[in-house]
Amino acid sequence: MPQTAGSRGLRAAAVATFAALATVPVPTGPSHAADPIRIGSVVSATGPASFLGDPEQKTLKLYVDQLNKKGGVLGRPIELVLYDDGGDANKARTFATRLIEDDKVVAMVGGTTTGTTMAMIPVFEDAKVPFISLAGAIEIVEPVRAYVFKTPHTDKTACQKIFEDMKARGLTKIGMISGTDGFGKSMRAQCLKVVGDYGITVAIDESYGPTDADMTPQLNKIKNTAGVQAVLNPGFGQGPAIVTRNYAQLGIGLPLYQSHGVASKSFVDLAGPAAEGVRLPAPALLIADKLADTDPQKAVVTEYKKSYETATGQPVSTFGGYGFDGIQILVKAIEQAKSTDSQKIRDAIEATKGYVGATGLYTMSPTDHLGLGTESFRMLEIRGGDWVPQEKK
């Protein structure tokens, strides 16, 4: 192959670049003022779970900045060491190792999905460093692991909230249509576990794939099942919006319950007018401006919503709220422990009592590393494209 001097030069440059890349040690993040407290985070800011990870990442950055402007914690600035795992459990584990071995963080707030969280847990358990997860599944805190906590509601609590509402409305025979994604499957299983406690029976149990574009056949089956009084759709992403649209197109007319997994403005936008009358359990954050002034969460929720929306120009989401609660619980624990010793921080997190957060009221204990009850969910109904809280009967 004939070579010009130019291309030879370019190749030499490429060779030099590669050599440089191969020898330069991996940098360990920016270092700020003297002796910062290092808090780690691995979130799925890109990839299929980015709609969860992105608001989490923005919230964490925002509040670490705010805390540092106020003088930090224990008089020391906080340094957030944040990595994006792209939703890949293997990468998450590598970054977790990096946080522990290389960045020497005192604690970690992150783990966007259940898969990435479960992959990272052994790293933190082995290193005895507290890990506050932002992922949904109950398996994260059940059985209780010494160093693992989480802030999001579990599917079980959401199921209980929904069934409480159904019971109050006298609905005892329901149909279920669940997504086969992780969220839908897990919630379906949790709901089936507790449904009996409310005297409700599931007459028909259908499912759909995460990328299905039409759920009419399944909904038709439900429509043609005798005696069904309401329909519950545990699901996540675009599926529930399609279910809601198909549901309206078929004119089923029974009360439709969605899950907290779609408690966001984008669901209402996706489902359009079909969402009218749909009920779902959601954290107080979603209806910050509609909360009564006496509501204990009012102040926290309004403040977080305002800060987040001003800083990012995007509407607040419950997922970011999990991040907010995670970092707040951790910072309060560090203040309480008056130390950055991981063991003392862990003990202080476990002793969290009556913390009023964006997601709910947390009271943790050695047997409960989540600390949320059904009262942290509000039952909402969609009316005219907006949320209407349903008063407790």
């Binding site: 370019l10 190749r11 440059a13 490429a14 060779v15 590669f18 890349l21 330069v24 040690p25 991996v26 940098p27 993040g29 920016p30 890109t46 944040l82 990595y83 994006d84 939703g87 890949d88 459990a89 293997n90 990468k91 584990r93 590598t94 190792t97 990096r98 522990i100 071995e101 290389d102 999905t113 259940t114 898969g115 479960m118 992959a119 847990i121 052994p122 599944a137 398996e139 086969t180 994604d181 992780g182 499957k185 897990s186």
Partner: protein, 315 residues
């Protein structure tokens, strides 16, 4: 002299062994060991593709499927069937070989783009099954992989896994180099250059293609098992499309058909995302640009292009 050295099998193995031995000496913390161990694991998986793509000239866009089968073999075997992890690893490798044989038999009749799409389909099906069969595989949230114990010794810790993966890579490289130099290797290369010509000189085209596919499937399966055992946890995205593409990219970036190139390609794609984290939002974009730049500037892949450069200089 240099030329013979650069193409000698022993030199390649020695080079790899020296690098594997040196990393722990130079690594400032065990995080670097983990990254290196991941390089060895992915290089092992990619070595299979080197045999399939680099030697025999057949493409596969679904190789993460085998990675997934191997990974779930060591998860499901001990957890659900009560099998020994080491036995599960072996069974996983056998299963990968069988699956490759059964799947490869019909689809290797296809050529070029059609073969690519068929293998793509295979990978997607494996990922789909792993995601959907929640009762066995734990579904999309993944499942725990029980710790391996060999003769009462509990295999854990990154140091241990570093040497296991490094050793596995050396064995894999040795086999790949020997295959390349064997009559089968020559048949593979004949196939690569021209199927018709290969058939004309008496190469059993169909069975050689199938052999390459089965070998490559076993490589990926063993790598998957090692990955799962090392991580102690596995999710279905191990078998995902992105991982299949990553494996192909490793083989091509490093240099198609070169064993050292495959390891360099794996290092490129495993280490760079770690090195680029300081760029935050721009990480993915820069990674993409770097891959493009390397393909444009070193079109034959990093190792073959550099080797040619060095040889030109010497002459």
């Amino acid at each position: 002299m240099l030329k013979t050295l650069l193409s000698s099998r022993l030199a390649v193995l020695l080079l790899l062994a020296v690098v594997i031995a040196l990393v722990p000496v130079l690594a400032p913390s065990s995080f670097y060991l983990r990254v290196a161990a991941l390089v060895w694991v992915f290089a092992l998986a990619a070595l299979g593709l080197t045999i399939l793509m680099g030697y025999a000239g057949q493409v596969s866009l679904g190789h993460a499927g085998f990675l997934g089968i191997g990974a779930y073999a060591v998860a499901i075997g001990p957890a659900r069937l009560g099998l020994d992890p080491l036995l599960s690893l072996v069974l996983g490798a056998v299963l990968c070989g069988l699956v490759a044989y059964v799947v490869g038999k019909p689809i290797l009749r296809l050529k070029g783009y059609y073969l690519a799409i068929a293998t793509l389909g295979f990978g997607l099906i494996v990922a789909l099954v792993l995601t959907s069969e929640g009762a066995i595989t734990g579904g999309p949230d993944g499942m725990q992989v029980p710790r391996m114990t060999v003769l009462g010794w509990r295999v854990s810790g990154i140091q241990t896994w570093y040497w296991i993966t490094g050793g596995a890579l050396l064995i894999g490289a040795l086999l790949a180099l020997n295959i390349q130099a064997s009559p089968s290797g020559r048949a593979f290369r004949a196939l690569h250059d021209s199927e018709i010509a290969a058939a004309g000189v008496g190469v059993d085209v169909a069975s050689k293609k199938l052999a390459a596919f089965v070998i490559s499937g076993v490589y990926a399966g063993v790598a998957g098992s090692l990955l799962a055992l090392m991580n102690g946890f596995i999710t279905p995205e191990a078998a995902g499309f992105m991982h299949s593409i990553e494996l192909v990219a490793m083989v091509i970036i490093g240099g198609l058909g070169s064993v050292v190139g495959t390891v360099v390609g794996a290092a490129f794609l495993v280490v760079l995302p770690q090195a680029l984290t300081m760029l935050h939002e721009y990480e993915q974009a820069v990674l993409g640009l770097l891959i493009m730049a390397f393909m444009i500037l070193l079109p034959a892949g990093i190792v073959p292009s550099l080797r040619r450069l060095v040889l030109e200089r010497v002459r």
